[in-house]
Every structure is written in structure tokens, then in C-alpha cells.
């Protein structure tokens, strides 16, 4: 299966990533539920990871995969902390609607 890019083509993967990324962005903008927003961010992250792997294969270089590995580690940490923050927000405000988080109002 080494010649997958011969068959599918890097362009398709790029388009797939772009669309996935844009769906993530759309989710971030569209939803008010902080958890869904979080999920959207994960989708964006995965879009990028996918592209990384695609290019890693394209260049026949393992570094891209190593990078994805690290990015997954960071994502795991980020999700853990982020969700903890959400939990504590929920405890304090009783809601995780981001429209309610307006303490930064100048």
C-alpha cells in the first residue's frame, strides 16, 4: 500500500483536511455550547494532523508522524485541562453557554 498517494493524490487529502478544518471553524462559530465548541476544536486539530500524516507520507519522512504524535499528546493534555475548566465553570455558573462568559467585558 505504499503507493496510496499515487492512487488517491495529495490534492484530495488537502481538500479533505481543508473541509474538515472549515467544519471545525464553523462549529466554533455556530454553537454556544462550550463542549461542542471544544469538539469542533478537536476536529480542527485532527484535520491538521491528517494533513501532517499525508505530507509525511508524501515526503517519505517520519518527522511528520512524530509531530502528529506530539500534537496528540498536547491535545490530550489540552482536553483534560479544558474540560476541567469547563466543569469548574459549570459549577460556578450552572451553565456552559459561552454567551454567559462575559466577565472580560471592558
Amino acid at each position: 500500500m505504499n503507493n496510496i498517494l499515487d492512487i488517491v493524490g495529495i490534492e484530495n487529502y488537502i481538500f479533505l483536511s481543508v473541509l474538515l478544518f472549515c467544519i471545525g471553524v464553523f462549529g466554533v462559530l455556530y454553537r454556544r455550547n462550550a463542549i461542542i465548541v471544544f469538539m469542533s476544536i478537536e476536529i480542527m486539530l485532527n484535520a491538521v494532523n491528517l494533513l501532517f500524516v499525508a505530507f509525511s507520507t508524501y515526503h517519505q519522512d517520519a518527522e511528520g508522524q512524530v509531530f502528529v504524535f506530539f500534537s496528540m499528546a498536547v491535545a490530550a493534555a489540552e482536553v483534560a485541562v479544558g474540560l476541567a475548566i469547563l466543569v469548574s465553570i459549570f459549577r460556578n455558573l450552572g451553565s456552559i453557554d459561552i454567551a454567559n462568559l462575559k466577565n472580560l467585558k471592558g
Binding site: 466554533v28 462559530l29 454556544r32 459561552i98 454567551a99 472580560l104 467585558k105 471592558g106
Partner: protein
């Protein structure tokens, strides 16, 4: 040897000053006074020594002590110049100074700050000597300002009275107005000739052709403004009558005999410059004549014995300036000297009277002192005769010469007018001086009973200087009698324009007679009014009409207050209360603008995360578009 003697001459009074400042309180009062007096006497002795030496050898002494101020194109030394003019001045400054010091020992005996008084007097003598013997204009300026300072200190000597302090302040500030003129004059001269040294200056001026230079006229005018401040001429004369707030010896020494003649000294020093600027000379002559007339007319109605003398001083100084303006420097100098004698004597005499009356200065409360104070009376009478110009007293000769010069002048078209003005001033002088004599010494005493009991002749320390000065006032004219003209010859090296010797012809004798007649008219007028009619000046409130204007000194002080002091204070208030906060507000304005912008900016921060995210994504879009698409298109 010579240098150290010069230093001795200069520094002895200063040492006396330091001594009295630092140890004056600890030593007894008499010692303090004595040391002060000795310091001046030493200087006097030195002056005589140098005078003798100069007379024998004719050699002018120049000493350079050290470099002082350096400016780009010339250096100013701390130098000393002892020539005929400075020695002449030294002689009478230190001479009369010694006498007045002596007099003060007794006069100020009861004052708690006696040592300070002597300290200041010594300091004054020191600065006066500096003024006189400085070898360049700026050293002269040190003395010039220094005597102003001492004058300030001594006028305000009784510092608990704010009126006296006001008078002192006024004197200092009016002098400073003149000083600014002087300084500007110095600047112009420095830039024209790149030196301020008298000797070099004279050489340059005489060597070059600067006669038509307009800037030179400005320079001499500025110098003259300086002189009007120091020598109390129109329009800066008003400080001098006020300066009578100081103790009487001060009035005698500083405000009659010595300091106020500094302006005449300076103009005589710079005669080579003034000779080149005839217009300024005309101005000087006119100002002098006018001052003489105005001051004399004010003197007519004053009731304070010292004020009368003060206005008389202003008036006499005016006559001297008239002589200067007419180019007769030697005549002016002659009058300075005789005036120093009789005016010092008059002031000291009035001091003696005031002393006897325990501080009473109003002539309406005097009278009949002739019998109680015979020596004071006699000496003052002599001096009064001298100032009125009665033959053969000193004043007759000098004043007559001024009138003569005015009458015979051919350079100024209106010289005859000046002569008339000066003559009128002389008649007035004779009148008010004899008015003073009559009110003070004749008829019966008008003071309180208590004063009457304490009336006494002053002690010998007071009368001795009086007698000496009266003697000088009698024979002082001898230094420049029309026949011998010793002073004229003596001053010849100093003056550029040679003095035309008058052959004593008919015209001269006629003028003398006219002058004498004028004086006698004045005396007679006074006699008829104050002896015959036994007139006593009215109370202040009873004075009306033009007399009131004169009595209030033509309201000149009020005029100045209205014209200068009030606007200045108003301006100050305006700046302080209006302009300053306004400027502050402008500065704060920047802060306010920044604040307002920040307030507007604050509203952008809605705190809504959704909005931020939109902005963020659109921003990223924009950046991407700019980076990739816009550049490709371009």
C-alpha cells in the same frame, strides 16, 4: 609695596566689616564703632598718601590683581586704577566717610545693632572704593551694585518697620532699573571696542573715528540711564526721598555725599565717550535741569527736615548733571565736592537736631533751637549759606560755575533756557533752605513740653564732624577759585575736551552778581514769610490746590504705582489665576483625549466570546488573503 598699599586702601574697610560681623556682638559698643572708624581712617590715610604721590610724580597707578570674567573676545581683570579722578573721589569718600563714622559712634550709641551698622557702613565704604578705583567698567559695576546693596541694608536698618523696608526695597529696585541700563551700555561698549578697561577704551576711542556711530549714542544713553538710577535723576529719583528712612548718618554719607555722586563719577570717567555723542549730552543737560527744578519745587513745601534735604540733594545732583551735559565735567566734579561738604554737614546737623528731639523730624514741631544748640546752628547756617550760593562759601563758586557754563554754552541752542531753569532752581534752593533754617532754629519751640526739657546740644563726637565739614563748606571753594583753577588743572589728564578758561570779564562778574542776587532773593522771600509773617506750615489736611500737588510730590509715586506696579501685579495675578491653570488644562487635555479614546476602545470589548471568535477568524482570513492572494494578484 605699592600693590599692598593699594590693597590696604581697599581692604581695610572690608576687614572692618568682617570684624564687626563676626565679633561685633562680643565686643563693647564703643570698640565696635572705633574699629569701624579706624578702618575708614586707614583708607583715608592711604588715599592721602597716594594723592601726595600722584601730585609729586604725576604717575597713575595701575594694578592688576587677577583675571575675573573671560568672554570670547576679551578678558576682564580685577584691576585697580588710581588716577586723578579716582583719587579725588577717594579723598572725599573716605574723608567724609571717616567723619560720619565718627559721628555715628555717638549718634547710634543706643541702638542694639550698633555693630551691624558699622559693619554695613564699612562694607559701603569698601564697595564705594571698589567703584571708584576699579580699572574697568565691570569692576566699577561691582562697586555700583555693592553700594546699592549697602544702601538697601542701611535704609532698612530698622527692619521692624515695614515702611522702611519698603523704602529700602524701592531704592534697590529703582537702582536696578538703572543698573540694567548700565549693563546694556557695558554690553554695547564691549561689543564695539572689545574692552572695558578705561585706559584702553580711552586710547581706542581717541584713536578711532567713532563720532557718528549711532550705537555709541545708545551705549552712552544706557550708561546715563544707569546714572539716573544711582544718582536719583528724573525719572528714577523717587527712591531717594524715601531712602531718608535710614538712620541720618546713612543719609549723609550714602544719599548725599558719596553714593549718589557715583553717576557723575561714571559719566566723568567715560567723558571721552559722551563727548562723541552730543545728542545724549543734550538729553543729560535737559534731564539735569528739569530734575533740579522739579526737585527744588517739591522741596519748597516739604515739612520733614530730612525730606527737604533729600529733595535738595536731588536738585543739586540735577545741577551737576546739567554741568555734565554741557561738557563741563570738571565743574560738575567741583560741585560734587563742595556739595559733599555742605550737604553732609546739613544732614549731620539735621541728625543732631533729630537726636536732640528724640526722633522728631517734622519741622512744624521744631523752632527756636538756635539758643540750645549753638554749634549745630552755626555749622548748619554756614552750610545753608553755602548751598544757597552766598559769597564766599564753597557752594557759591561751584554753583556759579555751573550757571556760567550754562550761560556761555554755544553748542546747545537752548542753553540759555537751561540757565534760566537752573537759576530758578537756585532761587528755590535758597528759599527752602532758609525756610528750613527759620523753622528749625528761629522763633520759639513748637514741640511738646517734655521735649523742651530734654533739649540739649549734641555731644562733641557729633559736633566735631559738623565743625570740620562746616569749615570745609566755607573754604572748599578754594580748590577751584576762578583765578587759580587748581581742580581744572588737576583733572586735565582725565578730560578730553580741554576746559576753556574764562577770563574774568564783565560778563562773568555780572553773572556772579545775578546768581548772588538770586540767592538773596530766595533768602529774603523765606525771611519775609517765616520770620516776618511768622508763618508755620499748615497741617497735612489743610493743604489744598496746587500746593497739595507739590506737597504730594506731583503724585509721581502714585503715577508709577498706577502705571507700573499695579499692571505688573495685575498681570501676575492674571498669569497665576488664569493663564497658569489654562496651560495646565491644555496639558491635562492630552490626558483627557487619551482617556476618551480608551473609553471608546473599551466598548469594543463586549466580553462576548462569539464575537471575538468571529473577529479572530475573519482576521485570519484577511491575513491569509493578504499574504497569498493579494500578493499573487499584485
Amino acid at each position: 609695596m605699592e600693590n599692598s598699599l593699594v590693597l590696604l586702601l581697599l581692604l581695610t574697610p572690608f576687614v572692618g566689616f568682617l570684624f564687626n560681623v563676626f565679633f561685633g556682638k562680643k565686643i563693647s559698643r564703643n570698640v565696635s564703632g572705633t574699629i569701624g572708624t579706624i578702618a575708614v581712617v586707614v583708607s583715608f590715610a592711604m588715599s592721602i598718601f597716594f594723592f601726595m604721590q600722584l601730585n609729586q610724580t604725576g604717575k597713575v597707578i595701575q594694578v592688576k590683581l587677577f583675571d575675573w570674567i573671560t568672554v570670547s573676545n576679551f578678558k576682564l581683570d580685577f584691576g585697580i586704577l588710581l588716577d586723578q579722578l579716582s583719587l579725588l573721589w577717594l579723598l572725599f569718600v573716605t574723608g567724609i566717610g571717616s567723619l560720619i563714622h565718627l559721628y555715628s559712634i555717638s549718634y547710634m550709641h543706643d541702638d542694639e545693632n550698633l555693630h551691624k551698622f558699622f559693619a554695613y557702613l564699612n562694607l559701603f565704604i569698601f564697595f564705594m572704593i571698589t567703584l571708584v578705583i576699579g580699572s574697568n567698567l565691570l569692576v566699577m559695576f561691582i562697586g555700583w551694585e555693592g553700594v546699592g546693596l549697602c544702601s538697601y541694608l542701611l535704609i532698612g536698618f530698622w527692619h521692624k518697620n515695614q515702611d522702611y523696608n519698603d523704602a529700602a526695597k524701592k531704592a534697590f529696585i529703582m537702582n536696578r532699573i538703572g543698573d540694567l541700563g548700565f549693563l546694556i551700555g557695558i554690553f554695547i561698549i564691549a561689543s564695539l571696542f572689545t574692552t572695558l578697561d578705561f585706559v584702553e577704551l580711552k586710547e581706542i576711542v581717541l584713536g578711532g573715528t567713532n563720532s557718528g556711530n549711532a550705537l555709541l549714542s545708545v551705549a552712552t544713553l544706557c550708561l546715563f540711564i544707569g546714572a539716573t538710577g544711582k544718582s536719583a535723576q528724573l525719572p528714577l529719583y523717587t527712591w531717594l526721598p524715601d531712602a531718608m528712612a535710614g538712620p541720618t548718618p546713612v543719609s549723609a554719607l550714602i544719599h548725599a555725599a558719596t553714593m549718589v555722586t557715583a553717576g557723575i563719577f561714571m559719566i566723568t570717567r567715560m567723558n571721552f565717550l559722551f563727548d562723541l555723542t552730543p545728542y545724549i549730552q543734550e538729553i543729560i543737560a535737559v534731564v539735569g535741569a528739569l530734575t533740579a527744578l522739579v526737585a527744588a519745587s517739591i522741596g519748597l513745601l516739604q515739612n520733614d527736615i530730612k525730606k527737604v534735604l533729600a529733595y535738595s540733594t536731588v536738585s543739586q545732583l540735577g545741577l551737576m548733571f546739567l554741568a555734565l551735559g554741557l561738557g563741563a565735567y570738571n565743574v560738575a566734579v567741583f560741585h560734587v565736592i563742595t556739595h559733599a561738604f555742605f550737604k553732609a554737614c546739613l544732614f549731620l546737623g539735621s541728625g543732631s537736631v533729630i537726636h536732640a528731639l528724640h526722633g522728631e523730624q517734622d519741622m512744624r514741631k521744631m523752632g527756636g533751637l538756635r539758643k540750645v544748640m549753638p554749634i549745630t546752628f552755626a555749622t548748619m547756617l554756614i552750610s545753608t549759606l553755602a548751598i544757597s550760593g552766598i559769597f564766599p562759601f564753597a557752594g557759591f563758586w561751584s554753583k556759579d560755575e555751573i550757571l556760567l557754563v550754562a550761560f556761555q554754552n554755544h553748542h546747545i541752542a537752548f542753553a540759555k533756557v537751561l540757565w534760566v531753569v537752573a537759576s530758578i532752581a537756585s532761587i528755590m534752593t535758597a528759599f527752602y533752605m532758609f525756610r528750613l533754617m527759620y523753622l528749625t532754629f528761629f522763633r520759639e519751640f513748637r514741640g511738646t513740653e517734655e521735649q523742651k526739657h530734654h533739649l540739649h546740644e549734641s555731644p562733641s563726637l557729633i559736633t566735631f564732624p559738623l565743625i570740620v565739614l562746616a569749615a570745609l563748606a566755607t573754604i572748599g571753594g578754594a580748590i577751584n577759585l576762578p583765578g587759580s583753577n587748581w581742580l581744572n588743572h588737576f583733572l586735565e589728564p582725565i578730560l578730553v575736551t580741554k576746559y576753556e578758561h574764562h577770563a574774568l570779564g564783565t560778563q562773568e562778574y555780572m553773572l556772579m552778581a545775578v546768581a548772588l542776587a538770586g540767592a538773596i532773593i530766595g533768602i529774603g522771600w523765606a525771611y519775609s514769610k517765616y520770620i516776618k509773617q511768622a508763618f508755620v506750615p499748615k497741617e497735612d489736611s489743610a493743604i489744598t490746590g496746587f500746593s497739595k500737588t507739590i506737597y504730594n510730590k506731583y503724585y509721581v509715586d502714585e503715577f508709577y504705582t498706577f502705571l507700573i506696579v499695579k499692571p505688573l501685579n495685575g498681570l501676575s495675578n492674571f498669569f497665576r489665576t488664569t493663564l497658569e491653570p489654562a496651560l495646565g488644562k491644555v496639558v491635562y487635555g492630552f490626558g483627557t483625549v487619551a482617556n476618551g479614546l480608551s473609553n471608546q476602545g473599551r466598548k469594543l470589548q463586549t466580553g462576548s466570546i462569539g464575537l471575538y471568535l468571529f473577529a479572530f477568524v475573519i482576521g485570519v482570513c484577511a491575513i491569509i488573503i493578504y499574504l497569498f492572494l493579494a500578493q499573487n494578484i499584485a
